[in-house]
Symmetry: C2
Subunit: 411 residues, 2 copies
């Protein structure tokens, strides 16, 4: 069961003017599930994206970059997303399959193939069944509507147990703006620049160069702060869409109140979507926030936070609600931070200081620490006492079900 | 059940002249188990060691370095090893406890405290019960004998299911030389310079400076090539003892046939002891050798091999005998190798080429790949096609039992 993660309420997912969504069952891998999503964008929409840093990036990621780059994100008219097959590790035939998908969408919507962005998620190294995608697209087009965000979130699920969607509203210069997004992902989650798949749309009017900056900043403080198992996927993509249909004055720079206001709302949606992925992490029973502060720089704070978040010994102790502080300290010692003085490190579980001076606090009470770790959600805080930088990473525990899910995934 | 790992035959463990071993039940953490080992060395013995790189190194590791350094490994008369408590993350009181243990051994054997090396393994961040160790030492001393290698291996076990010992024989200049070693470890295993605990003794006569070089080279090609869960322990120590009692002409340099011959035999013992740790890895059902070749340098070959060996997704696929090649390729893509051309990479399972040109081989047959992975022992081979360096890492799979063992460890 996901931790503190309810199904989104469709009534709270605001439509975004200029964005229509339609899903269908295309039988890509398994019957009787919606596995194909078409997102249609009104003319004039702009798109910016960040993508996986895995060297084995998937064919659709390569095609997305090719289609975004020459037009600087202007003129994109559609996104097409399939589950069941990642079209990764598929070589040159995989690229042709992604391009064929774009061409099929273009024929239906009456645009050019390079105005379409393709996304795939699912099993790696299997040939993409393009003909099933092409056969399913007319049904997607027939289903297009601006109220279908929850359907869309459901159509991009793989090992997710709950659809993930979030929505916010703001006002810029008296104009009402909507920001709505969806995401998916539960395993192979340690995004680097982006998550498995995340799509955030707004009807705000924003210059493309500003969107590029915004999506990078937002990714760094949302999807790039989560980890389930430390494996960066071949398909990670986070996309920001701005249709410009709200009618606000164009946000043309990253200075000023309008940028700040929109950035804050987009970040808030992104954090909710990113945290939803961790809460729904494969086999997760707990959501853990790991904050590392007073490091020399952000990089070493993140290194320490990820060393804790990726240690199988720490993650199984989280699962067991076992305050095995030694495993956490050993992980800190393994993070590769040079000249770390371990005797100055302090460690908290929620608000309780449990370790300092190279060992446990004299007033440490194991039952109290265990009580903190029995919660569905708790915080680990580390003070490195070396500087003033900080970083936070969100992760989950490591349970029997993680092994079950990943040993059974393809069978 | 450990993979291909039988209990050592005590008749095959050669005594090493000048080394006597004695174990006892000291009730350090649990009753009715041998948890304290004393190794007495004859005068004139030399000792060299390599230790954990974890910044939270344990108190006994600090004391070992202090006792080895000023006398350059000469004059060490005893090693004392306890299980049940790692004396790590214990601050200044932990150092005092390790020194008190040395002093107690010195009183019994009639030597100085700084001629004793202390080793501890077990739970982290608990106070070392020095009084129980001191109370147990007379029984250890009473049990000292040169045929007790298997008893010694058993006395240093923690979550190990099988004692680990290996022995070889060689002749140098007509003189018969014995090399016998023991090791322990099953979790928190990704040694960096050394393993959890490994002790290798020979009666060869070797200069200390030569031993220092030999133990580093041996560690790099044995204990530093294994990983169970990617966590480097706070207590890792690998120690080479040379009593000089065999009577061969002193090996005074790393040039020449005698060095080569002894090095080869010590390495062979170390590899057997290191692989035994992986075969007995917590929850392990399979032993997997991961060879990466034709990299630019050894560091990138090791990075790729460890990325595969540490991926929870790859390890659970190993457990399921699921040839999910995409997970292996994704791990290679995540290894942080700059400018890696993924289309040139080739991947083998045992002798079968399964992936090339950025995807699966056209003649790939999944059932054949699954058959390879169903074996208790198999090899993954990766050709990076960038240079001529190579590295091999040995690891195990990731099963339900890994979670069970680590969620239950302290309870």
């Amino acid at each position: 069961m996901p931790v503190n993660l309810a199904e989104p309420d469709p009534a709270r997912l605001l439509p975004v003017t200029g964005v229509r969504l339609g899903a269908t069952e295309a039988n890509i891998r398994k019957p009787n599930r919606r596995d194909l999503l078409l997102i249609e964008l009104a003319p004039g929409s702009r798109v910016a994206g960040v993508f996986t840093q895995n060297r084995f990036c998937a064919a659709p990621v390569t095609v997305c970059k090719q289609h975004l780059h020459p037009r600087a994100g202007d003129g994109i008219r559609a996104l097409v997303v399939n589950t069941g097959n990642a079209n990764a590790g598929t070589g040159e035939p995989g690229t042709r399959a992604a391009l064929a998908t774009c061409a099929a969408v273009a024929r239906i919507l009456g645009c050019e193939a390079d105005q379409v962005l393709p996304f795939s998620t699912g099993v790696i190294m299997e040939e993409l069944p393009v003909e099933r995608i092409v056969a399913g697209l007319p049904a997607c087009a027939a289903n297009l509507g601006d109220a279908n965000w929850l359907d869309a979130a459901r159509a991009i699920m793989t090992t997710d147990t709950v659809p993930k969607a979030a929505s916010r509203h703001l006002t810029l210069g008296g104009v009402s703006i909507a920001v709505t997004g969806i995401s998916k992902g539960a395993g192979m989650i340690r995004p680097n620049m982006a998550t498995m798949l995340g799509f955030i749309a707004t009807d705000a009017n924003v210059a493309h160069v500003v969107m590029e900056r915004m999506i990078r900043e937002v990714a760094d403080h949302s999807f790039n702060c989560i980890t389930v198992d430390g494996d960066t996927s071949t398909n990670d993509s986070l996309v920001l869409i701005a249709t410009g249909k709200a009618g606000n004055a164009e946000i043309g720079s990253t200075e000023g109140g309008d940028y700040e206001a929109l950035h804050a709302v987009v970040l808030s949606v992104a954090v909710e979507l990113a945290q939803a992925i961790v809460r729904d992490g494969e086999g997760a029973t707990k959501f853990i926030s790991i904050a590392v502060e007073n490091g020399s720089d952000v990089a070493e704070c993140k290194a320490v936070a990820y060393a804790i978040a990726h240690s199988p010994l720490v993650k199984t102790a989280f699962f067991a609600s076992d305050p095995n502080l030694g495993r956490i300290l050993a992980a800190i010692g393994n993070a590769g931070v040079r000249d770390l003085d371990v005797n100055r490190i302090r460690l908290w579980l929620d608000d309780g200081l449990v370790a300092a001076d190279g060992g446990r606090r004299p007033d440490y009470v194991e039952q109290e620490a265990a009580r903190v770790m029995q919660q569905a959600e708790f915080a680990v805080r580390v003070d490195l006492a070396r500087g003033s930088a900080r970083a936070t990473v969100w992760t989950c525990d490591f349970s029997y079900d993680y092994v079950r899910i990943n040993a059974d995934y393809r069978t």
